[in-house]
């Protein structure tokens, strides 16, 4: 095949262009830190990257849900424990009131007064709010779960739930009726009855004590329930942290550039480019003109 000077020049230019193109591509990867900058670089990698990003966002949202759920469950837990303490004090007072032999009317009055005060404090604890919503009120839009007289004003149709993973929701609330008893015959009604019976009908205090024990058992069950949910949420938190770490690793493996490898390739490409430049300089210079007179 006949070779002309122009053909040699053109092919040298094409070779230099190819080299420079490779250098440019490696440099773009290094400066952006990403191997995939357009979908055409790797369509399957793009799919993975988009899915991983979406999963990362939902895992972050679930972390927020989990911490919110932990706050609710923790608040319910501490409220129930305090109320349990108070109820045990009421029980002691009731037992004291049952002992009519060694009590004077003034003593009974004093016990009745204290029990009433304890009932008010129980109501106050039951009406605790978290973030503007009553803790034991269910999905009510109101500001409290029990009114001043002890009647239930919450809404218990639907549970308050938080999503802790793509497939699980966990209930984080406990309604008043579930923890303290059905309206009309719940903890506050029993304590109110005790406050009355201490002064009026001490003999009925025995039946009241049984009711109070039932209420205490109910509260213990509720506490166990809340505790179990709290453990489940903590376990989910650990899983969530692990998953977000895995996703971040996965995303960097798909998208991120392998720095040592890319830097080495860039160096090799630069050496190749310099060699091509030197070869071009040597090949294009001599012609027959140098040798003729």
């Amino acid at each position: 095949m006949r070779i002309t000077q122009r053909a040699v020049a053109l092919s040298s230019l094409q070779g230099l262009n190819r080299n420079l193109d490779a250098v440019g591509r490696l440099q773009q990867q290094l400066t952006s830190g990403r191997m995939i900058s357009t979908p055409s670089d790797s369509p399957t990698g793009t799919n993975w990257a988009m899915q991983t990003r979406a999963d990362q966002a939902s895992v972050a949202q679930q972390a927020r849900n989990i911490s919110d759920g932990k706050a609710w469950v923790g608040a319910a837990d501490s409220a129930l424990m305090t109320m349990l303490e108070t109820t045990r004090r009421v029980r002691d007072l009731a037992v004291q009131g049952l002992n009519t032999g060694s009590m004077s009317p003034a003593g009974a009055e004093a016990i009745a007064l204290e029990v009433t005060n304890l009932r008010d404090s129980l109501l106050g604890l039951a009406n605790q709010t978290l973030g503007g919503r009553p803790l034991f009120g269910g999905v009510t839009a109101g500001r409290s779960a029990y009114d001043a007289a002890g009647g239930w004003v919450g809404t218990d149709g639907a549970p308050v739930q938080r999503r802790i993973s793509d497939t699980e929701v966990v209930r984080i609330d406990i309604t008043g009726p579930e923890a303290f008893g059905p309206p009309g015959d719940d903890l506050f009604a029993v304590v109110g009855r005790i406050a009355d019976d201490v002064t009026t009908d001490p003999a009925a205090l025995a039946a009241d004590l049984e009711d109070l024990d039932v209420a205490i058992d109910r509260m213990l069950t509720a506490l166990a329930d809340v505790g179990a949910r709290s453990a489940r949420i903590e376990h989910a938190e650990q899983v969530n942290t692990d998953r977000s770490l895995t996703l971040a690793t996965q995303l960097s493996e798909i998208e991120g550039v392998d720095l040592p490898r890319t830097i080495m390739e860039l160096e090799m490409q630069k050496v190749g480019y310099e060699a091509a430049l030197a070869a071009t300089a040597k090949a294009l210079q001599p012609t027959l003109l140098d040798f003729l007179r």
Partner: protein, 467 residues
């Protein structure tokens, strides 16, 4: 044999070698000219009389050398192949450009594309589910829904802009084509006249062939040899240049992307309106106008309609903060009654209290419906999956075209190298030719001197007896 026939032979020799030197000089002067094909002087020996006769017979030897023809060395088959390969290469370049622009409009994978807007919207729904009583969370959700609609609208708008720009570029391209076609016709006429009167027209032919190659790259033309050294230019079966007559081309069809379905843009001849099957850059841009951009516009529209339908039907099953059932979230246009496309998707809900987060009617603070809506992102037929499919198919299409372009670039380079090898000027070869012509010229000069001496002997020294 006449007395001075030897001198005549020497004169033709001098003239022919000098012509050879001229042609070599022309080649050397044009060694770097693009599109120049090397020329070679065609030396023909002139013979003596070979016609038998009775009385006027001469035994003369040959009469010298004739150097009338200067031929242009160019391979017509390689030229035809080059036209084809350049046309394919330009077409693939135009298609790759169009697809690359669409990729840039979508900006995936990244944190600023529609995927990120969808993800934020789903997160907004979950936040409302956690805090259904908080108006800031609801307001943020409405903002994110609005941003999603805005993102869809702006992606569609950039596709529309790309369509308009491509159409404008194609019109400008066709103006260039018309100019080139007119120039080819003029050159054909000049070459025809020169060839008919026997004058060399090699430089004009080079210029014309460069123009034809340009036409091949822009519109997929092929050259067909005509009479008297002219070349007819044919595009998809329609003759644009026949000898010295030229036909103009224009762009017909829809002027905006919406009308492509009913009146596809096409290239037509201007007086006749006949559609031509073009190639080259024009074909690539037409493919972008008729196939590529409208396809992705329709898919974006379908995505927007899918998002609106999924969210609207899910939202209608929940209840707002005041107990009212949720209405449509997205609608088409300001009135909300047109069919939803990516160009007119608008947020219809403006009151944060009307976001339907609750499954329980009557104003309870239930957030489970908002959570159910947020889980739509995992649906295998949901908006997330269809958008990912769109992006991946775009990526596959673009990478296929880019790979084909790479292969085609190698083929085109090979064809160009073959053409250069046939028609290019090699300086070493020209130097050697120059040496031969130089020596031949000096030898012819010597011949003149020798004949001059013999004639001098004959004229001045013969018949001078005794003087």
């Amino acid at each position: 044999m006449s007395t001075f026939s030897g001198l005549n032979t020497a004169t033709t020799a001098l003239w022919a070698q000098r012509r050879g030197l001229d042609v070599t000089g022309q080649n050397i002067a044009n060694v770097n000219t693009v599109g120049y094909s090397r020329q070679r002087v065609d030396l023909q020996a002139m013979g003596g009389n070979t016609v038998p006769a009775f009385f006027s017979v001469s035994h003369a030897v040959g009469g010298g050398v004739s150097a009338d023809d200067v031929e242009r060395i160019r391979d017509a088959f390689l030229e035809a192949r080059a036209q084809q390969e350049h046309a394919t290469s330009s077409r693939l370049t135009a298609e790759a450009d169009a697809l690359g622009q669409i990729e840039q409009a979508l900006r995936e994978p990244g944190d600023t594309g529609i995927q990120a807007l969808l993800t934020e919207m789903w997160a907004g729904w979950e936040d409302v589910g956690n805090n259904p009583h908080e108006e800031p969370a609801r307001g943020q959700l409405l903002e994110r829904l609005d941003t999603l609609a805005g993102g869809l609208r702006s992606a569609r708008a950039s596709l529309d802009q790309q369509w308009d720009q491509t159409r404008e570029n194609l019109q400008t391209l066709l103006i260039d084509v018309n100019n080139a076609v007119a120039a080819v016709a003029e050159l054909n006429q000049a070459i025809q006249r020169a060839t008919a009167s026997g004058l060399p027209a090699n430089e004009l032919a080079d210029r014309r062939d460069t123009l034809v190659l340009e036409l091949a790259a822009t519109i997929g033309a092929t050259g067909r040899a005509g009479s008297d050294g002219t070349v007819d230019v044919v595009v998809g079966g329609i003759t644009l240049v026949a000898g010295s007559t030229a036909t103009r081309v224009g762009l017909a069809g829809a002027t905006e992307s919406g009308g492509v379905g009913s009146d596809a843009p096409r290239i037509v001849t201007v007086p006749g309106g006949a559609t031509m099957r073009s190639g080259g850059t024009a074909e690539g841009q037409l493919a972008a106008l008729v196939d590529i951009v409208p396809e992705y516009q329709q898919r974006l529209d379908a995505l927007a309609a899918g998002i609106a339908a999924a969210l609207n039907s899910a939202h209608a099953e929940g209840y707002g903060l005041d107990g009212a059932p949720g209405g449509a979230i997205f609608g088409g246009g300001a009135s909300g009654t047109d069919p939803v496309t990516a160009a007119n998707i608008t947020l219809l809900v403006t009151d944060p209290r009307r976001v339907a987060a609750s499954k329980v009617p009557g104003g309870a603070l239930d957030g489970s419906h908002a959570d159910a809506i947020a889980q739509l992102r995992l649906q295998p037929t949901g908006p997330d999956v269809s958008y990912r499919r769109l992006v991946v198919e775009l990526g596959v299409q673009t990478s296929v075209v880019e790979r084909n372009l790479g292969i085609q670039a190698v083929i085109t380079a090979q064809v160009d190298a073959s053409r250069e090898s046939v028609a290019g000027v090699n300086l070493d070869e020209e130097m050697t030719n120059m040496l031969s012509f130089q020596h031949a010229y000096s030898a012819a000069g010597r011949l003149v001197t020798a004949i001059d001496e013999t004639l001098d002997q004959l004229i001045n020294r013969t018949g001078l007896v005794g003087r």
